[in-house]
């Protein structure tokens, strides 16, 4: 039960229910779960190119030949790659930071593999970097740092737009988002 509590959103009560359920009714599934977890932990590592999780040395996206070599999208987490893949038509490559620059948490450029990113930028294939880090202060600082890295190599950078979400009502939107949405309004 204690082991199950390491999962997000699982408290003592839920952990107890899960454990009893697996032991009483789903002994086979429990075995499958245990094996899957074990193989996943043994086999899944980091992609050599983009740092996301993969079973191979290089992940499927990075090894694909049909994608646009010129674009590189920077995201904080592997989940962000999936979100972008599922909902946009972006067909370039990715670089996953696995975090963000956060001086107050002691996370610096070396923890995010930015030296690796630097080497990749030096390969001279990438023409545009799309900064898709989260819209938090740390995400902004990270974006700024990477844009400086790109600037030093004369690579164009862009930042994903920020504004009013679909279904959002202006009255309830926070002042920062609203003022930003106004400043970066587009022709209609």
């Amino acid at each position: 039960m204690d082991a199950l509590r390491c999962l997000p959103g699982v408290g003592p009560k839920t952990a107890q229910r899960m454990a009893f359920h697996l032991l009483e009714r789903e002994r086979d599934s429990a075995n499958v779960l245990a094996d899957t977890l074990k193989t996943a932990l043994e086999k899944i590592g980091r992609c050599e190119r983009c740092r996301t999780f993969t079973e191979h040395d290089v992940c499927d996206i990075c090894s694909s030949k049909s994608r646009d070599l010129k674009q590189l999208c920077i995201v904080e987490n592997p989940a962000d790659v999936l979100a972008i893949e599922q909902s946009t038509s972006y067909r370039g490559y990715y670089f996953v930071l696995m975090g963000r620059l956060s001086p107050l948490d002691g996370i610096g450029p070396e923890d995010l593999g930015l030296d690796k990113l630097g080497n990749r930028l030096d390969e001279n294939e990438i023409k545009e970097i799309i900064l898709a880090t989260n819209l938090t202060v740390e995400g902004e600082v990270t974006a700024h740092y990477i844009s400086e890295m790109a600037g030093a190599r004369n690579i164009k950078t862009s930042r994903i737009a920020q504004g009013v979400p679909v279904g959002g009502e202006l009255e309830y939107i926070d002042s920062y988002t609203l003022s930003h949405a106004f400043e970066s309004r587009t022709n209609y």
Partner: protein, 238 residues
């Protein structure tokens, strides 16, 4: 309002995730000093509450609790300071200083108002250094480590006029070399600090060194990560 609840304006200095839907926030308040509070944040539903707890926003905070960690009851944004990316890094530097150098539950109204002014300058001006120096100066003064710029620490007498002095972070100024750990500073820089005029470029470097070395002494060897990030950033461009 619930009994025992407190209210103050304040700024979030730092937040870190706590359990699934909560965050532990370090808030620098106007009337209660630095406090640590737990806030529930919903990440999925619109995310409006998560945005309130971003740094550089002046909030009206209600909280309650005993001991080290308090509970936030409500927080409302009063004003936000739109900092550009580089200004954000400067803001984080101020946050890091406050986090490491101020004690919990001790109200520091002068530092609070100086912090607010600093954020304002960072948001409105293009040159950030003078604002940061002013903040460092006020911080040192209010923490009781203000610079003594009048006495020669070697003789104990008033400092005699000279073109340059020696500055030692622990001892202060002297007109003769006190030995290891000291460095030479031009009289112009000392004069600028006395007048709290941090806008002149010519002595900016010396002023920065004096304030930074004094802050370092207070930090007692603890490195400032935001300062390291500044340095890394400069390295990229050279």
């Amino acid at each position: 309002m619930t009994q025992g609840a407190q209210q103050s304006n304040g700024f979030v200095l730092h937040s870190r995730r706590f359990r699934e839907n909560s965050r532990i926030l370090e808030v620098f308040t106007e009337t209660a000093g630095r406090i640590a509070v737990v806030a529930r944040v919903s990440r999925r539903k619109g995310g409006s509450s998560a945005s309130v707890y971003q740094p550089f926003r002046k909030l009206s905070v209600h909280w309650r609790g005993r001991g080290e960690l308090q509970n936030i009851l409500s927080a409302e944004e009063l004003e936000h300071f739109p900092l550009s990316s580089h200004a954000s890094l400067c803001g984080l530097y101020c946050n890091e200083l406050l986090l490491y150098l101020t004690s919990k539950f001790i109200p520091m109204p002068s530092i609070y108002s100086s912090y607010q002014e600093t954020l304002k300058s960072l948001a409105e001006e293009n040159i950030f250094e003078p604002a940061l120096r002013r903040f460092e100066f006020v911080l040192l003064e209010e923490l009781g480590f203000g610079l003594d710029l009048e006495t020669d620490h070697l003789t104990g007498q008033l400092l005699v006029d000279a073109e340059q002095y020696y500055y030692h972070p622990a001892m202060g100024l002297s007109s003769k070399n006190p030995g290891q750990g000291s460095f030479i500073v031009p009289a112009e820089a000392i004069d600028a600090i006395r007048k709290q005029d941090f806008s002149r470029q010519s002595n900016a470097k010396a002023v920065k060194l004096i304030l930074a070395s004094t802050i370092d002494r207070l930090l007692d060897g603890r490195p400032l990560k935001s300062r390291q990030l500044f340095r890394d950033m400069v390295k990229i461009n050279t």
